[in-house]
């Protein structure tokens, strides 16, 4: 199941040129971009690992593309996303975030039902990928 998190996630995968243009848009708005990766696709997993440092002072997307290439080499089977952070007063938050790399196959989620007192049922989602320990997921 193809996960849909962040902007553009319902579109086909962005090509490198398209990524460049989106990053350019972020930089033109004065946002600082950075790369993050994870192998836990749960939607509530908001804190991904950062690859390298956040790229303040970047003027051109080529800098990020260089890092992205390295990051893809290091984590070919991880999710990688670009996040653009707006540091202006009272925003101080990510303004745009989109996935730029995903594992070749995504096993998806399982719905678990817990029966509670009365006839109440609690639902939770569980990602099949996380059955494996960290860094051993998506190995097929």
């Amino acid at each position: 199941m193809r996960i849909t998190q962040g902007t553009f996630s319902f579109l086909p995968e962005l090509t490198d040129d398209q990524i460049k243009k989106q990053v350019k848009y972020c930089l033109d708005n004065g946002w600082a971009v950075n790369l993050e990766y994870t192998d836990d696709p749960h939607p509530r997993n908001t804190y991904w690992e950062m690859y390298g440092q956040p790229m303040f002072d970047l003027k051109d997307p080529a800098g990020l593309m260089m890092d992205l290439e390295e990051c893809r080499k290091t984590f070919p089977n991880h999710y990688i996303r670009v996040t653009a952070f707006d540091s202006t007063h009272q925003w101080e938050t990510p303004r745009l975030s989109f996935i730029v790399n995903r594992p070749p196959s995504e096993p998806g989620f399982q719905v678990t039902r817990q029966e509670c007192e009365g006839r109440k049922i609690r639902y939770t989602v569980h990602s099949y990928a996380t059955d494996q320990p960290e860094s051993q997921r998506y190995r097929n």
Binding site: L58, K59, D60, A62, G63, M66, D67
Partner: protein, 311 residues
């Protein structure tokens, strides 16, 4: 419509016919390069070889642009440069200009200059250098990376020096990311030569070695004029004569750093002028505030030493 007229403006990716004609004048006109040349001539005194080379580069990029319209494939020319010259000959100033020029010529995308020295590139401990160098390179992407006193990167006396690591990363980026950034090295001639001898890879990756000549006394005079005008000052007629004499004397003394010495001298003269005005009390006019007098010039230490005649 003939293919000659619309040839210069087309941008549809279709190659031109083999017998099409492109009007170079129109392309030149369109690129606003003349503006850049005029500005260079106005703001940079002397530096003949430098300006010639900039013209050559501009011509090359222009012709390359037209060639591409005919679908004549060729690699993007490498524009990594090395500026050598004595202190104060304008290496940094020209590097800044170069970023703007290359931007106008559409060679770099952003046209900013990232100016660094050894400290910004080389780390303190193992594993520190590579990220540090890469960080700087990323910042410079789309613009010009200017490495001042580049010979410090290589320290032959210490074989475990981290500078070597930085050099290797730079070399790799200069080769692989030619479209993304232009690297300009600067330094004194003799030390750069030694640097290139021990790093032949660097020499061969740099297409343009530009030597900055020393300024003549006349050029230094013109430079001082420009510097003063920028700061809203001017010389009185006597002060002008005195300053010409100052230049002549200063050039014979040790540690003469061309335009930099001139700038420092002017700064000291402004100090003396301020002191003179302050001590005179009373009221001042606009003219008093902007004029440097001969006394401000002649109070310099340089005049205390005897003038050596050149024979």
């Amino acid at each position: 419509m003939s293919s000659a007229e619309d040839a210069t403006n087309r941008d549809d990716g279709q190659p031109l016919a083999d017998d099409a004609r492109v009007d170079l004048d129109a392309v030149f006109e369109e690129s606003r390069i003349q503006e850049v040349f005029d500005q260079l001539d106005r703001e940079l005194i002397g530096l003949r070889p430098v300006k010639t080379r900039i013209r050559e580069i501009a011509a090359l990029l222009l012709v390359d642009h037209v060639r591409r319209q005919f679908n004549l494939a060729s690699d993007t020319p490498t524009l990594h440069m090395c500026f050598t010259g004595n202190p104060g000959t304008g290496k940094t100033t020209v590097a800044e200009r170069m970023a703007q020029i290359l931007h106008k010529l559409d060679y770099v995308r952003e046209g900013h200059l990232v100016s660094v020295t050894r400290d910004d590139l080389v780390g303190q401990y193992i594993g520190h250098t590579a990220p540090k160098t890469k960080e700087v390179i990323k910042r410079a992407m789309g613009g010009v990376l200017f490495i001042d006193e580049a010979y410090y990167l290589y320290r032959p006396e210490n074989e475990r020096d981290y500078g070597q690591e930085s050099i290797e990363i730079l070399l790799q980026v200069m080769e692989n990311n030619r479209d993304d950034l232009v690297v300009i090295l600067a330094g004194y001639k003799d030390r750069m030569d030694t640097f290139f001898e021990s790093n032949p890879g660097f020499r061969s990756r740099i297409a343009h070695h530009i030597d900055f000549p020393d300024y003549s006394p006349d050029e230094l005079g013109a430079i001082s004029q420009l510097m003063l005008a920028d700061e809203n000052y001017r010389f009185s007629d006597e002060a002008r004569v005195a300053f010409d004499e100052y230049i002549e004397r200063r050039m014979q003394q040790p540690h003469f750093a061309n335009a930099r010495s001139i700038r420092n001298a002017l700064d000291r003269m402004r100090l003396r002028q301020a002191k003179r005005l302050f001590e005179a009390r009373g009221s001042v006019t606009r003219k008093d505030l902007t004029t440097l007098e001969a006394d401000d010039v002649r109070a310099s230490r340089v005049f205390a030493e005897p003038l050596q005649t050149s024979d």
